[in-house]
Amino acid sequence: MNIEQQYIDLFEEQYDALCHNSTELMNAPRKEAMAHFEKQGIPKKGVERYRYTRLDDVLKVDYGVNMQCLLPKFNPYKEFECDAKGLGTDLHFLVNGVYYDKKPSDAEGVYVGSLKKFAAEHPERLRPYYNRLAAAQKDSMAEFNTAFVQDGLLLFVPRNTKVEDTIQLINILHSNVDMIIFRRILVVIEQGAEAKLLLCDHVTQQQRYFSSQVIEVFVGENAHLDIYDLEETHNLTARVNHVYVEQEGNSNVVINGTTLHNGLTRNDIYVDMIGQGANVELSGMAIADKEQHVDNHTFVRHKVPNCTSHELFKYVLDDVAVGAYSGRVLVERDAQKSYSEQSSKNLCLNSKAHMYTQPQLEIYADDVKCSHGATVGQLDEDALFYMMQRGIPKTEARMLLMFAFVSDVIDQIRIPSLQERLHHLTEQRFRGELDQCAGCALCQK
């Protein structure tokens, strides 16, 4: 039986259970999404957007699905500490895609909490947002998520409200069997509002996981949003992550992704700029060795004049790791005075490591400034020699250079304490000391 069929059958058999443990708003688009998934299937060879990542192998595994939305016995607030700790963040947990209950925040009108719960209480407030961007792209893997997803996180910041603390969401994958996890994150930042969201991915047991995540982001006029995404899982974990962003006029969005440890990661970031003066900054860093696979795919659409977009992606690849970056910038006919730059810089430390890079420009307006650059290379011999001459051992010198290489991606982060933490983590990672997250009770068991 082919892979798709397993999930199609599961969907039909378990449809009632799926709906029962979710809410009407999230149940409504399920059938249509499934029909699309059925039609398109898992992206096959020859699908340009998935050119560098094959998903059929990781989906072949017989995964369990958490249909009943069960929560583990431990309390993550007590037992789990993320590596990016001590940041004074407002902490939330999704365990296997289910929101681990917490007392809602006191701030007026701001909602951070279970998507399912809020959708059940106020469906009319989320109806204009939920699944609007994801459905429009018709990506079969996002449709797959829409069909099965039952819960997730909602971040709702009303007009002219500034959320001071960084909101941190920790995704924990915790299971005794191989498991597939679906989760949804919906972010609505209304006009003039401001928020920062930090996402961390962790796994606690050496099982195979497939996590499917869809993030929909709506940023109103003059609003600011930062999303930082830190992935630290193990090499049996596959993650397909779709981020859909819609930006109104003069809004400012930063999305920064860091992949420190993973199995297979595919990040799809779509940004639609529908209001003049919007600015987006996408950046990503990956340190991959062994058989890790990191694929970042971005698509920025300049739909109106005077928008700017910046992209910076840096990879360090060792062993037989595979890295891919494909970025596309589309400047539509009326989007004059657009400014866009893409940069993809990569280090291959080994002849078996493999890097694909593909920055693309598609431009239909004439008064624009667009550029892209891509490089693949190795460490500068002269710089190494210079340092060795001054008594720095070669391994240390290499480390320093690699560290310097990725640091400008980290410098894009607008939370100083997180920046510092990431500098520390990458250094540990380069030294090979970071095989599991330090300090948390779960990992040390």
Binding site: Q358, P359, Q360, L361, D366, S371, H372, G373, V376
Partner: protein
């Protein structure tokens, strides 16, 4: 200054004539019936009195082609065309046995080539260019054959080479572009009619530029020529290719193959000025140009350099590429692609690094005007054994007008840690400041745009041989004519 103005005046005059190669020539032409099937292929082969192996090659390619479909990945809007409704062989010289001397060539034909600015006769001695002219499907006349023969250089039409040097042709044909390569390569391998063959023996530096001029004349025909260039050890050749077609309302198909084999320390310089009929201002007619060009740097320290100026064709689908197999081999790709009105171009280069210490350079300049779409698509591939590979790519796009599109799709596929690969691209319009500066000095906006565009393309034009560079400059000016509002 005055000189420049005169030049601009001249360019304008030329430009007002629009597509000046749009005439047709009234020569007797033998065209076989339309359609494509095994019978037609056998017929072409029989007309050309080809040996059995070549017929088998064609049939094999045809059978393979039947299993294929038109590639859809390019950023092009390719209208449906019926491959059964064109004739695959058209011979303007068929009433004669084949030209032995100038007297044998149909005077109308000589006239045509004179109009195109390619005098086939002795005047060429002055510029020192040997020409093989291909009209519709058949090579009309090759000049200077004897002079070249003295040095052991073979420069002849493809069919003649098949007759006279079958071993050479058989050894190298399809060794770089196999019939299984792509849809249009398979089609060409099945129905190719003629083309040029060049062989430069060991240690010979070809004393003159070799040149082929292609022209589609007859209506409802397609042109499918093949060029094969073999440069043996330590040799050098510079090869030029030019193309024109008459102005017709219906579109014509051109699907060619160019193969270059470069042995130890040999160097081949291949320059193209492509000026097929681009269709009228409403986008009607024009040549569909689907060309497969590939060079193999087989020997150590060999070098292939591609230079192209693409101004014509309604649709251009063309990726001159090089396989750098020999250690220390070098390849360069310089391109200017101009699109105006409804033209569409998807062009670029592919560099495959296999040998050690190989290096490649890609410089691509796209200029789009009117309602045209111009894309750069390129691949740089470094295989695991290609230690010390080096690539530098730069593609710039210039937009003249707000209705056109300029796109860049570079692919990089790196599997070696010692490789250094760089890619840079920019897209912008002509800067207001530059225009203002020119206007201030009394240069009209139109002339200023011409100047700026020529300056922008200079890096590439400089790589062209002298005679071509002049022609290319004029072409550039004509192509962007009327695009400044």
């Amino acid at each position: 200054m005055k000189e420049r103005e005169e030049q601009n005046q001249f360019v304008k005059k030329v430009a007002e004539g629009k597509y000046k190669y749009g005439f047709t020539t009234d020569v007797e032409t033998a065209t076989i019936e339309k359609g494509l099937n095994e019978g037609i292929i056998r017929k072409i082969s029989a007309i050309k009195k080809e040996p059995e192996w070549l017929l088998q090659f064609r049939l094999e390619a045809f059978r393979y082609w039947q299993t294929m479909t038109i590639p859809k990945w390019a950023h092009l809007n390719i209208p449906e065309f019926d491959l059964q409704s064109i004739s695959y062989y058209s011979d303007p010289t068929s009433k004669k046995k084949g030209p032995e001397s100038m007297d044998d060539v149909d005077p109308e034909l000589i006239d045509t080539f004179n109009k195109l600015g390619i005098p086939l006769e002795e005047q060429m001695a002055l510029s020192g260019v040997a020409i093989d002219a291909v009209m519709d499907s058949v090579s009309v006349k090759t000049t200077f054959k004897d002079t070249l023969m003295e040095k052991g250089i073979i420069f002849s039409s493809f069919s003649e080479a098949v007759r006279e040097h079958p071993d050479l042709v058989r050894k190298y044909m399809a060794s770089v572009v196999p019939h299984t390569d792509n849809y249009f390569a398979a089609l060409n391998s099945a129905v190719f009619s003629d083309g040029s063959f060049v062989y430069i023996p060991k240690g010979v530096r070809c004393p003159m530029e070799l040149s082929t001029y292609f022209r589609i004349n007859a209506a409802e025909t397609g042109q499918f020529e093949r060029t094969l260039i073999v440069a043996d050890d330590d040799s050098y050749v510079s090869y030029l290719e030019g193309c024109t077609a008459p102005q017709r309302d219906e579109s014509q198909l051109h699907a060619a193959i160019v193969e270059i084999v470069c042995m130890d320390r040999a160097e081949v310089k291949y320059s193209t000025v492509q000026n097929w009929y681009p269709g009228d201002a409403e986008g009607k007619g024009g040549v569909y140009n689907f060309v497969t060009k590939r060079a193999l740097c087989k020997g150590v320290s060999s070098k292939v350099s591609w230079t192209q100026v693409e101004t014509g064709s309604a649709i251009t689908w063309k990726y001159p590429s090089t396989i750098l197999k020999g250690d220390n081999s070098v390849s360069e790709f310089y391109s200017v692609a101009v699109t105006n009105n409804f033209q569409q171009a998807d062009t670029g280069s592919k560099m495959t690094h296999i040998g050690k210490n190989t290096s490649s350079t890609i410089i691509s300049k796209g200029i789009s005007a009117g309602k045209s779409v111009n894309s750069y698509r390129g691949l740089v591939k470094v295989t695991p054994n290609a230690d010390g590979a080096r690539n530098y790519s730069q593609c710039d796009s210039l937009l003249l007008g707000d209705q056109c599109g300029a796109h860049t799709f570079p692919y990089m596929d790196i599997r070696n840690e010692t490789a250094v690969v760089e890619h840079e691209a920019t897209t912008s319009k002509i800067s207001e400041d530059q225009l203002f500066y020119c206007n201030q000095r009394g240069i009209s906006t139109e002339d200023a745009v011409g100047l700026i565009v020529n300056g922008y393309a200079k890096e590439v034009l400089n790589k062209l041989p002298m005679e071509f560079a002049v022609e290319a400059q004029k072409l550039l000016a004509i192509s962007i004519e009327g695009s400044v509002g």
